[in-house]
Structure formats: structure tokens, C-alpha cells
């Protein structure tokens, strides 16, 4: 599951990856014609809209790409850097950049690209941008208030606008297509030519068909999560047998024994977990099973992950999902926590054991009833470790 950094690709290898990504980036920018200021500013004077076409197509493609990766459970968006929103610095900084664009004819990425093929104006632009950074750094106390004003956190645009994600994606794609059509007309008028075809070209048709297939496939292929939830819901009998159970006695014994291999994967709600904490417990939710960072906990070797919920059915459903996702060392508490409370914590000592085996069980449960409350009380002091999610650091 992505992102692959930092656990599959280490920090140092990441720099090598950065170099290769940069090579691709520079190559595409140069091939698209972003290495000349004349082509770049054409956007603002209506004679060449290459920038808009490339930029909008790239943005929409990446948006779809990232949504598809999320859809099929290949990317945990909680770990991806989402540019934070600082309203005023974004607007003022953006307008200053816009002015820099029409005065200088480049933006930072394209200036580096153009400088690489020998454009002297681009080299001067790069020099200028270093000076601009220095001005900002030296005068930082003056700009600090503006820099930090209007902090909204890191929301998604569809959340800010109060739209469902799919509606926003549709609107953005529609705006892009309308823009592609409109700019061919503007371009033709400015350059006094007949409008060039824009959609009914080979590339245009291919891109449109692929885009439509991808968009429609979202309706046919459920997300990875929906798929597993559906699958486990419909095989409560057969599939559930695959996960082995742990009897309440074994569970109690391991708790008393302070077995370090035992990990209680606690699916109770926060209030229930607080009222009766368990040793080695990690709070967990169904969502966590589909997130990269919490899931890593289940993959640790040498631990027995016991899924805990009030009833066994819930436990088995969750455990089956985890099993489908490829996690092996998972067991469920037989009868759920309700059975554990009834049979162990509230063990009825007035019962009279009938057989020899019952006598052993009686003795054990009576001991567990006596000693476990102390173990549970002790674990209340050592609150469960909650792993904090660390997003990738990004931005400029």
C-alpha cells in the first residue's frame, strides 16, 4: 500500500527517486514547449494556450490517478501531503506570482527547464527568484502575520465547497473540457486562423475514451473496502471458520500470565474501552484496517492479535476482513467480551462442578476472577499506545 516512502523506499533511496522523477518532469516540460517564455506567456495574450492544455490535463489526470489508487486500496491518502490552506498568503502570494509570471515570462519549474537548454533569460529568472527568496527570508518578521493568517488546516476543495467529491471531480473535468474547446476559438481569433480541432484528434479521442472508461469503472468496481465488507457479510458461515478462536479461559490465562505475545486489538468504542481497559490493548476501528500505518501493527511477527468486540459475530467479521487483507496471526475471543465478562470476571462461584474437568475450570476461573481485576486496574495506568499518523512532508 502506498505511499512507498518511508518503509519500502528508505529516505536515501528517496533522493535517488527524486532525481529520476525530476528527469521525467524536466523532459516532459521541455517536450511540451515550456522551455520558452514566448510559449508560456501566450496563455495571457491569447495566442498560445499550450500551458493551459498541459496544466489542466495533467491536473485532471493526476486527480483521477490518485482517486483510482485510493479506490482500489493502493494509496492511503491520510499519509499524503495535502497543501495546507492559509487563505491570505495563498491569495496575496498567488497574485504576486501572477505578476512575476507576466513580467518574467516563466515560473520556477519552467525557468529551470529553459535554463537547462541554454535560455539566458531563464537563467536570469532563476537568479531573480533566489533574490526574491532572500528578500522574503530577510524581511520575514514583516510578513509573518500575513504568512500565518487565515489558517484553515489542510482541507480538500470539495469539503470547503460542501460538495460530494464525485460532483466536484465531474465539474472540474467539465470545466477543463469546456476550457479546451474555448481556447481553440480564442487562439484562432488572435492568430487569425481557422480553429484547430481539439477533441477529434487521435490523442484527444484516446484520452477521452480512457477517461470515460475510468470514470464509469468506478461505478462497476466497488472500492477495496466495500468489496471486502460485502464479501465477508455474505459468508458468515464458511469464511468465518477460517479464523481460529481463543477460548475465554485461554484469554484469561494469557492475561494473568502477562503474555507479551498477546496483543488485544480492541474494537470497542472509546467509552467501553476506558471503562474496562485491557493489558496490551490497541484501540482499533474498521477504518484502521484500510489504513497503512495502523495496519502495520497486525503484520508484526510473533504476536497473537486477538480481536476484541462485545460479541463474537462482530469479531469474526472484522477478523475475516483482516484475513482477506492478508494478515495471518489473528484470532477472535470466543463469545466476545460479553462471554468473557460472564464466564470469568463475573464467574459464579456458587456453581457446583460436576466432573473432574469442571473442577479444574472452576479453580482456574475462581482464581482469574480474584486476580484479573488487579491486572486490569494496573493496565489502566499504562494507557494504550496510540500510533500517530505521520503525513509525508511536501510542498515547496
Amino acid at each position: 500500500m502506498g505511499p512507498l516512502v518511508p518503509d519500502i523506499i528508505g529516505q536515501n533511496l528517496n533522493y535517488v527517486v527524486a532525481l529520476f522523477i525530476g528527469v521525467g518532469f524536466g523532459w516532459i516540460l521541455e517536450q511540451a514547449g515550456f522551455s520558452t517564455s514566448k510559449k508560456l506567456v501566450g496563455l495571457f495574450y491569447g495566442y498560445d494556450f499550450t500551458v493551459l492544455r498541459v496544466f489542466f490535463t495533467a491536473g485532471v489526470t493526476a486527480m483521477f490517478g490518485i482517486i483510482i489508487l485510493q479506490h482500489f486500496g493502493m494509496l492511503d491518502i491520510n499519509l499524503v501531503y495535502i497543501n495546507p490552506t492559509f487563505l491570505w498568503s495563498a491569495i496575496v502570494g498567488g497574485v504576486i506570482m501572477g505578476l512575476g509570471f507576466v513580467v518574467g515570462g516563466f515560473c520556477p519549474g519552467t525557468s529551470v527547464c529553459a535554463a537547462a537548454i541554454g535560455k539566458k533569460d531563464a537563467m536570469l529568472f532563476v537568479l531573480g527568484s533566489l533574490l526574491g527568496v532572500l528578500v522574503f527570508a530577510e524581511g520575514y518578521p514583516l510578513f509573518e502575520d500575513l504568512y500565518k493568517a487565515g489558517h484553515w488546516g489542510s482541507p480538500h476543495i470539495f469539503e470547503t465547497m460542501g460538495l460530494p467529491k464525485s460532483v466536484f471531480v465531474f465539474l472540474l473535468t467539465a470545466v477543463a473540457l469546456i476550457a479546451f474547446w474555448a481556447v481553440t476559438l480564442v487562439e484562432a481569433r488572435t492568430n487569425r486562423e481557422t480553429p484547430k480541432p481539439w477533441l477529434l484528434t487521435r490523442v484527444g479521442v484516446t484520452v477521452a475514451v480512457v477517461g470515460i472508461v475510468i470514470a464509469v469503472s468506478g461505478y462497476f468496481f466497488p472500492t477495496q473496502k466495500e468489496h471486502y465488507l460485502y464479501a465477508t457479510h455474505h459468508q458468515q458461515g464458511g469464511g468465518a471458520a477460517a479464523v481460529s478462536g481463543m477460548s475465554v479461559d485461554e484469554f484469561a490465562f494469557r492475561l494473568l500470565d502477562k503474555d507479551r505475545r498477546l496483543r488485544v486489538v480492541d474494537f470497542r468504542d472509546a467509552a467501553a474501552a476506558k471503562s474496562m481497559p485491557l493489558p496490551n490493548a490497541v484501540p482499533f476501528t474498521l477504518e484502521n484496517l484500510f489504513e497503512k500505518e495502523p495496519r502495520r501493527l497486525l503484520a508484526q511477527r510473533g504476536t497473537i492479535n486477538v480481536f476484541i468486540a462485545p460479541d463474537e459475530n462482530t469479531e469474526r467479521r472484522l477478523a475475516t476482513v483482516a484475513g482477506e487483507l492478508g494478515y495471518k496471526n489473528i484470532r477472535v475471543l470466543e463469545g466476545g467480551l460479553k462471554a468473557f465478562e460472564a464466564a470469568i470476571l463475573n464467574f459464579d462461584t456458587t456453581l457446583v462442578p460436576a466432573t473432574r474437568q469442571d473442577v479444574d475450570t472452576y479453580r482456574f476461573r475462581a482464581r482469574a476472577r480474584r486476580d484479573l481485576p488487579a491486572v486490569i486496574a494496573a493496565s489502566a495506568n499504562t494507557a494504550p499506545v496510540v500510533k500517530t499518523i505521520k503525513r509525508a512532508v511536501g510542498g515547496c
Binding site: G24, E30, N83, G98, I117, K119
Partner: protein, 171 residues
């Protein structure tokens, strides 16, 4: 040799979008450019005026974020890659040449001043706006970030608003 024609813009856009998707999948972050200029600027100050750098909070903060040196930054490596990639592309398409491009109605000196001043504005604005056209606008659009999309609209909106006043530079 005559330069080869440029790539179809929609094809270039799809390739760039796929590259950005791959970047997010592999590294959890997007593309960028102005961040490397910040690294270079900070590294320059550290070399030229080390006492000034260690005495100013802005540089100190950056040093704390980059304990292994200002240049050991993801974007610095990426931008070195951009230089290599663009150079190879220019080489293969016969577009390598030392020249100063300027509009038909302007002079070399005005273009030189414009490039430096425009670069300075962009460098400054990218610091204030936390990213440029690559890091904030394009990558922000890919991950549907509100901040990135506001920055994008401000950049292009601002450029259109000012374009009329600088038309003699270009057309």
C-alpha cells in the same frame, strides 16, 4: 538542424499527470520547484554569512528542519533531475542554444531587467504562498487541496489582471 516539433499538449499533460500520480504513490508528496530555490538561497547565506544565518530565526528554523544541510532536500534532487531531463530533451530535439529571448517590441536590457525582477517576484510570492505553479497549483490540484487550488486561481487570475500592462514586453 531544425528543432523538432513540440509534443501534443494533451499527451504531455497526460504524461505529466501520470508522473505526478506516480510521485504521490511512491513518495506521498507532489512535484515542486521553488522549494529547491529556497534551499539554494539558504545554503548561499549559510556559506557567505554563517553568523547572519545562525542569528536569524528564519534560517535557523530551516536549519532545524534540514539537520543534514540545506541542500539535502527532496526538491533539490528533483530539480537537478529537471535540469538533466530538460537538457536531454533539448539535445534530442535540437533545441540547445545560448540565447536571450525577448518579445518583438522590446530590447535586450528590458528583457534582462524583466527576467530578474519577475523571477524575484515569483520567488518572493512562492515563499509567501507556500509553493509555486508546480508545488502548490499542480500538485495541489492533483490531491484536491483547497489551499493549492486557491493559489492556482490567484496566480493565473493575477497574471491575467496584470497582462494588459505588460503587453509590450511580449506582443
Amino acid at each position: 538542424m531544425t528543432p523538432k516539433p513540440y509534443m501534443n499538449p494533451y499527451l504531455a499533460g497526460v504524461l505529466l499527470g501520470l508522473l505526478l500520480t506516480a510521485t504521490v504513490y511512491i513518495t506521498g508528496r507532489g512535484l515542486g520547484a521553488s522549494g529547491a530555490m529556497k534551499s539554494a538561497a539558504v545554503a548561499t547565506v549559510e556559506t557567505v554569512a554563517p553568523s547572519h544565518a545562525s542569528g536569524t530565526p528564519y534560517y535557523r528554523e530551516y536549519q532545524e528542519e534540514h539537520p543534514e544541510g540545506a541542500l539535502k532536500n527532496w526538491l533539490v534532487f528533483e530539480v537537478i533531475g529537471v535540469v538533466i531531463g530538460a537538457f536531454l530533451s533539448g539535445l534530442l530535439s535540437n533545441r540547445l542554444s545560448f540565447k536571450l529571448e525577448h518579445g518583438p517590441r522590446t530590447t535586450r536590457n528590458i528583457r534582462i531587467a524583466g527576467a530578474i525582477f519577475g523571477g524575484a517576484l515569483f520567488g518572493f510570492g512562492a515563499q509567501l504562498g507556500r509553493g509555486c505553479t508546480s508545488g502548490a497549483a499542480l500538485s495541489g490540484m492533483g490531491v484536491l487541496s483547497t489551499g493549492g487550488i486557491i493559489t492556482m486561481m490567484a496566480i493565473f487570475g493575477g497574471a491575467y489582471a496584470f497582462a494588459y500592462f505588460f503587453r509590450k514586453l511580449w506582443v
